[in-house]
Each structure stands twice: as C-alpha cells, then as structure tokens.
Amino acid sequence: MNLWLFILMLSSCDIRFILLVLFLNLSLLLINIMIDINFYLILSAILFAIGVIGVLVRRNAIIIFMCIELMLNAVNISLVSFSSFLGNSSGQIFVFFVMTVAAAEAAIGLAIVISLFRNKETLNIDEINILKW
C-alpha cells in the first residue's frame, strides 16, 4: 500500500496530496512505536543532564540545591523503570531510600544556606570561597 501511495505521490503534483501521504506515512510510523524501557531511560538521561547544566552554570546556591533534587529525580525514574520492566521490586525500595536521603539533605542544605546568608549576606557561590585553596 505504501509503495502505491509513494508512486501516486511522485506522479501527482498536488502539494496537498503529497502532504497528506507524508502525514499518513508518519502516523503509520508512530503507530508502530511502543514504549519500551529505552524511552524512560533516555528521559532520565536528559533530565540528569539538565540538572548537571544547572549545577555548573547557575551561581545561586538555592537553585543549585534544586538542580541536585532534579538529578536525584532523574535517577529515580531510571530505577523505577528498571524495577517495573524487570519485575523486581528492589528498585522501588531504593527509590524510597533515595527520597529519605533527599529529604534529610534538603533540610541540612537549607540550614547551611540560612547560616551562610546570615554570615555573608550573599548566596552567590563565587563569593563564598573561604574553603577555596
């Protein structure tokens, strides 16, 4: 069927018809896609890289903390996807503990941010360089 449509497309000069055939072929392609584990893993890779960009580029300490939460979430997506595709619940248990550690880390980190702001009146991490050698 696709071959016939392709020949028709080549033989006709109507742009609307060509677009229609292209759309049909594209939708046929999309119909054959099913979500396997790759899609979730690549989504988690992209989110992780966005978090890395945020940590490296932004200078605001609070936004850096938020980007760390984003990276933890990206790793959680890949753990959950492995867990449900392989039928093993250890991944979801790991996600539970990662969330526990993330909660503790956020509380401690924000306390550090508050005490830093109290001492230096800034959140720019370029100006917070006491420990820099």
Binding site: I53, S81, L86, G87, A107, L123
Partner: protein, 172 residues
C-alpha cells in the same frame, strides 16, 4: 503494537518534564524556578504512575511536592533576595564549556541506553502492577529491609538535629 493512551501520556508528560526542567534552570527569580520544579515533580509523578509504581508516585507528591518544596519556598521567602544584581549571571567560556560537556554526557548516556537496551524489555513485567502497591512494598520494607528502614530513621533524626543546630542564631 497500538497507538495507545500510554504512549500519548508518556509523550505529553515526558516533554513537559523536560520543558519545565529547562524553564527551571533558566529563570532569574528563584521563586519562579521553585514553582517550575514543583510542576516538574508532578510530571515525574505521572511518569511513575505510567510505570505502575503507585506508592512511589504518591510518596513523590507527598514528600517532594509537599514537604521539600515548601521548605525551599520558605527559605527563599525568608532570605528576601531583593538584590538580583548581586547574583549576576554572565556568559563565560567556562559556562559554555559546561553546557557542551553536559550535552555530551546526555548523548553518551542516551546512546548507551539506546544500544544497550533496545528490544530487550518491550513491555512492563506482568507482576509490575502488584509490585508497586503499598502492600507489597510495605511487606518488603518491614521484613527484608527492616534494618535500612531503621538506619533511614536515624539519618532523618540526625538531619533534624543538624538542621536545628546549623540554623540556630548563636552557639551558647
């Protein structure tokens, strides 16, 4: 096999997660980026639901969107960052290199995942629906993983004490 609702939902919420993450790291105002991070956590919770992990999705909404983000917003409001010029963000060669290297990292991870797992796990496991419930995870947490649960509790206690000590005004 079919053009399923699952695929449509995955595309909508996956692209939403990426878009809100990009918006989060590009906003100048920290409150706006916190709000976009909340939206991002919500889309990730929907993706957990697509993976049949109900308990984790609920915990995501409760812990991340409920507790952690309130903490972030509270601290942002507390600090009253009115002077945005102090946090001047300019483009330098360092930052451009960082962005390029991060894109390289994403491509590296993506090609590894694509060629390592393509066609191996095509559908969710048959037991996935039962694995994600609070019942099965709770059974595991209170039997096999009982020691890690106690350790996590100790960690949270240490976190509470540490946060109180760090945020205290003066050491007496």
């Amino acid at each position: 096999m079919q053009f399923t609702l699952e695929f449509v939902l995955f595309v909508i919420f996956g692209l939403g997660a990426i878009a809100t993450a990009v918006l989060m790291i590009t906003r100048k105002n920290p409150i706006m980026s916190a709000i976009f991070l909340v939206v991002n956590f919500f889309t990730v919770a929907v993706i957990y639901l697509l993976l049949k992990a109900q308990f984790i999705a609920i915990i995501q909404v409760l812990v991340y969107m409920g507790a952690i983000m309130v903490l972030f917003l509270f601290v942002i409001m507390l600090l009253n960052l009115q002077d945005e010029k102090k946090l001047s963000e300019q483009f330098t060669y360092k930052k451009i290199t960082a962005v390029l290297l991060s894109i390289l990292l994403a491509m590296l991870l993506g090609t590894t995942f694509w060629f390592g797992f393509s066609g191996k796990y095509l559908r969710l496991a048959d037991t996935a629906e039962k694995l994600g419930t609070a019942e099965s995870l709770g059974k595991l947490l209170f039997t096999v993983y009982s020691f890690p649960v106690i350790a996590a509790g100790m960690l949270l206690l240490a976190g509470i004490v540490g946060a109180v000590v760090l945020a205290k005004k003066k050491f007496d």
